[in-house]
Symmetry: C2
DNA sequence: CTTGCACCTGTAGTTACTACAGAGAGTATA
DNA sequence: TATACTCTCTGTAGTAACTACAGGTGCAAG
């Protein structure tokens, strides 16, 4: 059983983030010492690891809640997990496409611009339409 | 001179967003009618168009503030505008790369998963590490 | 014993909006 | 003219996902 600071250290997360995840119900309320300090078990640490890893992979808190909901039922199926993940992958693919389109537009616009120390920029004209 | 609702309509923006942009100083305070209703000129509309277009292109409010700061000086140079834009393009390129990496990881992980109606998912195992 | 850090709580700030509530203004119809 | 309905006004609160503080205990070392 370790305290909050040690858990943050061990998982490479922010100490406040842990309290936040507890508050919004992603993490269970941990045990407490006699004086009220949080004490985390190995399982608590694994669960936080899961949360952090999912966040790194871009899952939203809502998606995470869904995943944890499945995991917590203890009889989730592959199909259920894959559904959430596939949806997430599609969202990411869409974001990538959007950003690429954005970048193409910006590339095109900035190609018009000499970048020299002269006034009146065609890029600004383009933005004003 | 048109009112806020008409301006929102004309620019395809939300009526509340206009007030917000005014509040944070992206838009100048417009004229007012005798009874206090905002009245927007053609120039106001052009400026809002500029703001909306930049936002569509993914510029942050801070970047926009910088661009508008240049535009407002009236003797900005191409070089200055290009610097902001180039930085923004680089940020987008980085985001695209990050998302692609994410997607590769997720694709790899979900390839492990049969997606069938069976319990215990290798995807979940992977997320728990 | 006291110094100093870790931890506790609640709350406010961040970004870029969006959505109210309650009141006054403007317009269309009866 | 009266009424109804829509628009606009203001300030404030909510959203996502944290992060950062303030003011107050607990704990371990010197």
């Amino acid at each position: 059983m370790i305290k909050r600071g040690a858990l943050a250290e061990a998982t490479g997360s922010n100490i406040e983030t842990i309290r936040y995840y507890e508050k919004i119900g992603l993490l269970h309320e941990p045990d407490r010492s006699a004086s009220g300090h949080r004490l985390y078990s190995r399982d608590d640490q694994k669960r936080l690891g899961f949360v952090l890893r999912c966040r790194e992979l871009g899952f939203s808190i809502a998606e995470l809640r869904e995943l944890l909901g499945l995991v917590d039922t203890k009889d989730y199926t592959c199909a259920e997990v894959l559904a959430v993940t596939t949806q997430h992958i599609e969202d990411i693919a869409k974001k990538i496409a959007d950003l690429k389109r954005l970048k193409r537009t910006l590339d095109r616009m900035s190609a018009e611009c000499s970048g020299e120390a002269v006034p009146d920029c065609p890029l600004v004209e383009a933005l004003f339409e």
